[in-house]
Symmetry: C2
Subunit: 220 residues, 2 copies
């Protein structure tokens, strides 16, 4: 890897770190791109060569997490039922945050704190999750042997699990920022979801419909 590339990578990380320090110190909205650029001694114009927008920087990690989750799901054994595969993938992801290098763990918690302090940003981060949901749905549908676009069931399954994770995060939002409670809350939400679902529903074993949607009935 050449000098040029290393330099770029370093600048990128510097921008992220400087930005999040400012976000924590004075809030996301109150922090201007000029401030971030100045902190790294880079022209504001250059900032936008690294990140498409201030929001892009703030939510940059989401793409990394998307990779982690989708690959975690892909790595689950083929025999595992869809719901178990999904929840285990998410569990693995969360526990990865614990076993990570302390530096990465600290970054993760800082992200969470900034997001929890900015409802709009938090909402946007979940909005970006929609893309991840699509990918997860494709994989789940494959495992269920159904079609991810005409059959809403894999989509529903994915939505249920991601909802649980989201609720788990929400529960930990206010309370401090230590990782343990967050992990516990997500675990708990996933367990509750498992209790809530009818056993075997995720395996499409019964001859239940699911394709009714394509008929687009028009009552009344």
């Amino acid at each position: 890897m050449g000098l040029r590339e290393r330099k770029k990578h370093r600048t990128r990380l510097s921008l992220i770190d400087a930005a999040f320090e400012l976000f924590q110190a004075q809030g996301y909205e109150a922090t201007t791109v000029d401030q971030i650029a100045a902190a790294v001694e880079v022209s504001p114009r250059t900032f936008f060569r690294y990140f498409g927008s201030k929001e892009d920087l703030a939510l940059d990690f989401t793409v990394e997490y998307e990779d982690l989750i989708t690959t975690a799901l892909a790595a689950r054994p083929e025999e595992e039922p869809p719901f178990a595969a999904l929840t285990h993938a998410f569990r693995e992801f969360i526990h990865l945050m614990e076993t990570n290098a302390a530096e990465d763990t600290e970054r993760f918690l800082r992200h969470r704190r900034v997001l929890d302090a900015n409802p709009v940003l938090l909402a946007t981060s979940f909005a970006r999750m929609a893309e991840t949901e699509k990918k997860l749905t494709v994989e789940i549908a494959r495992r269920q042997g159904t079609d991810p676009v005409t059959d809403p069931r894999p989509r529903l399954l994915v939505a249920f699990v991601t909802s649980a994770v989201r609720v788990g995060f929400e529960c930990s939002a206010g309370g401090a920022g230590h990782l343990g409670s967050l992990v516990g809350n997500v675990e708990n939400a996933l367990s509750l979801t498992e209790e809530a679902l009818r056993p075997g529903w995720d395996q499409l074993s019964l001859g239940s419909s699911g394709q009714v949607a394509t008929k687009a009935s028009s009552p009344r």
Copy 2:
């Protein structure tokens, strides 16, 4: 109602209608506030006196819908189990769009089309739904006789149902814009969700935990 107030109301509606016409013609992003203001022959500054932002205008109807849904839920009979109350509230809401005046129905469909064409906007609309979810959760928790902040179960139930509605909308996104298919898809998604959930789970009848979250276990 005085002339002044009528005028304001008329200007407000004109702005919304002009905006959505432009949104459909050239896209949301490509439409500037100046264009909207010009179309209604109003100064751009005045635009911001009616709406806090361009996005506010585009998502204005969400607050109206929030009212409809929360009051629909509140109106459900007290004996009705929580899940049924929720789904019926949503069903009523959707069917209301059908029985509405043709003008309102047309507006509703136009909203959907613009949202479906703008992923960011769509995502933001669901983000705003978070507020609605909170209110629904409070009511559901009340009916379940549990606490909406310490017990994640009512939150999960609400999240499941709203997820289903969202998936129903998604299914209808591409296909044309006629109301029938949308209603059918949402109905279908709700039915599938009912199939997916373990009967009685929403009534917290069993002695299942639910409060485990507060212990914040930290495995590994």
